[in-house]
């Protein structure tokens, strides 16, 4: 016989109520998750390890000598990646907001500005970022314009800023449009201009709505900074390549991979955590 309690037994009908029962279920779930993860990983490792080519690959990619020898140079290069990321992200957040605000202006008087921004965004989003980096990074310094920097580092970061701003502007714009029309109307009725309405009323509410999407962009940019290696900028991936060119051992790629993961995984976890918390808060307000 199945009593009502049995029907609600752990696992079958997960109880949402906090308390001892909930804690027991949590521990049980964690155990199942851990066992299945270890089993799956073990299976994959065994599969790779039994491959005939594995010993050669191990020597080529997982050599501890080369790992420690290449680490200082690759880490030094990676530090440049981090710096590029920080500088670019700050500029992107600012430039994208300006673009989104211009795109959100209404009325025929602002048509030329709006059209310009739309054209810019369409153009930038339509070209692969690697091509943009090559075009701007090699093209503009070749023009030898006086007063214009010619450093590949400068143009690499500038291209990232230009490219990501186009995408981020659309994120901001979605946020601005998600604010209810009545807010715009209330602000205009008080005599605020369009720009004041955006600045004091719409944008502050919009940013709160799009923080998860902006954080997602952070994670993406944090890896894409490595693309400037094509210009010869000695960042992490480039340093790894230089080492490989002298030794024909690919371990530095693993070094670079680990360094990128060390930074991007925490950012990704933070994004998830923040998004979850934000959703719970909104539900709490809505109920």
């Amino acid at each position: 016989m199945t009593s009502p309690q049995d029907i609600r037994s752990p696992g079958l009908w997960p109880s949402r109520k906090p308390g001892k029962r909930h804690a027991e279920e949590g521990a049980r779930s964690a155990l199942i998750a851990a066992v299945s993860t270890v089993a799956l990983l073990g299976l994959i490792l065994w599969w790779i390890g039994t491959s005939e080519a594995w010993p050669a690959v191990q020597k080529q990619f997982f050599n501890s000598d080369h790992f420690w020898k290449s680490l200082p140079d690759v880490a030094g290069g990676f530090w440049l990646d981090v710096q590029m990321f920080i500088v670019a992200e700050v500029l992107i957040l600012a430039l994208a907001l300006v673009l989104a605000m211009i795109r959100s202006l209404r009325g025929p008087a602002f048509f030329p500005l709006r059209a310009l921004v739309i054209a810019f965004i369409d153009l930038i989003r339509g070209v692969p970022i690697i091509l943009l980096i090559l075009l701007l990074g090699f093209g503009i310094p070749a023009l030898q314009l006086t007063g214009v920097p010619s450093s590949p580092l400068f143009w690499g970061v500038a291209t990232l800023v230009i490219s990501y701003s186009a995408y981020t502007a659309e994120v901001y714009r979605a946020g601005i449009e998600s604010v209810h029309e009545s807010q715009r109307m209330a602000a205009r009725s008080l005599g605020l201009t369009q720009v004041q309405t955006l600045r004091y009323v719409l944008v502050p509410q919009a940013i709160r709505n799009v923080i998860p999407a902006l954080l997602n962009g952070f994670v993406s940019l944090q890896k894409d900074v490595a693309l400037v290696y094509v210009l010869g900028v000695r960042e992490g991936v480039r340093e790894a390549q230089i080492y490989i060119a002298g030794t024909f051992n690919y371990t530095p790629y693993i070094v670079a991979t680990i360094l990128f993961l060390l930074v991007s995984v925490p950012v990704a976890r933070f994004t998830d955590w923040y998004t979850d918390r934000d959703r719970r808060r909104r539900q709490a307000v809505g109920s």
Binding site: S182, S189, L192
Partner: protein, 248 residues
């Protein structure tokens, strides 16, 4: 008596739907005009046209004898002279009550922060909201939010106030406190145009009642005349339904 607002032959449509057809309205200074009529009759649209929140298709609107619906007129200048209160309050949720109220005086009217604060203080005191000054709107009841919205509009010292069904979104027991605020403004001599479904209130407070039906002002006159001896069959029918619903 001087004319504060004059609406002449105003036409407004949304896409194919004509919402206002040939509306005329005269509002004198210190006069209270109530707009009545069923939902969709154009009351709300008329108020938003007067505030220039919606562009009109034809006709013109004059404020103190000057045309305000002309392309050469800066709508921000016009809006600075009148306040509007909406059905759904439309307070800014990310700002405290005080910040909601002082935003326009400081940023639009160029009043010093201290003076704007003083003005907000005395208005909130007058409307019984002083203890809510630092609260965010979601911490206030509907009636309190709507009174805060009235204060926000008054803080810019408007010459004219527009009320767009300001009690329609409120629980019944909160309606009186908001209507009381409008009565208080009448006593102070404020010129007001009030779109409302509260017929008892319109009868008590209005100097002039306009019945809108399908985008035209079908009938206007003193409340006693409109409510006791309506001339038009549509007005009689509308009021009959209101009486049947126990709202008059």
């Amino acid at each position: 008596m001087t004319t504060k607002i004059e609406v002449r032959n105003v036409v407004k449509s949304f896409d194919d739907k004509v919402v206002l057809r040939d509306v005329d309205l005269l509002v004198d200074s210190h006069e209270v005009v109530c707009l009545i009529g069923s939902s969709g009759s154009g009351k709300s649209t008329l108020l938003k046209c007067i505030n220039l929140l919606l562009p009109i298709d034809a006709g013109e609107i004059l404020l103190d004898g000057g045309v305000i619906t002309d392309r050469s007129v800066n709508p921000n200048d016009v809006r600075q002279r009148m306040g509007i209160v909406f059905q759904a309050f439309n307070l800014f949720p990310h700002m405290t009550v005080l910040e909601n109220i002082t935003l326009s005086p400081v940023k639009v009217h160029g009043i010093s922060r201290d003076e704007a604060h003083d003005r907000a203080h005395s208005l909130l005191d007058q409307f019984g909201l002083l203890d809510k000054i630092d609260e965010y709107p979601d911490r206030l009841s509907g009636g309190q939010q709507q009174r805060a919205a009235v204060v926000r509009a008054l803080a810019t010292k408007p010459e004219l106030m527009l009320f767009d069904e300001v009690t329609s979104a409120l629980d019944p027991e909160l309606v009186a406190e908001v209507l009381g605020v409008i009565r208080g403004l009448k006593d102070q001599g404020m010129t007001m145009i009030v779109a409302t479904h509260e017929m008892g209130f319109a009868r008590d407070v209005a100097d002039q009642v306009c019945f809108l039906d399908d985008g035209v002002i079908l009938e206007k006159g003193e409340p006693a005349q409109i409510f006791s001896e309506p001339q038009q069959p549509r007005t009689r029918q509308f009021l009959q339904r209101i009486v049947e619903a126990g709202r008059l």
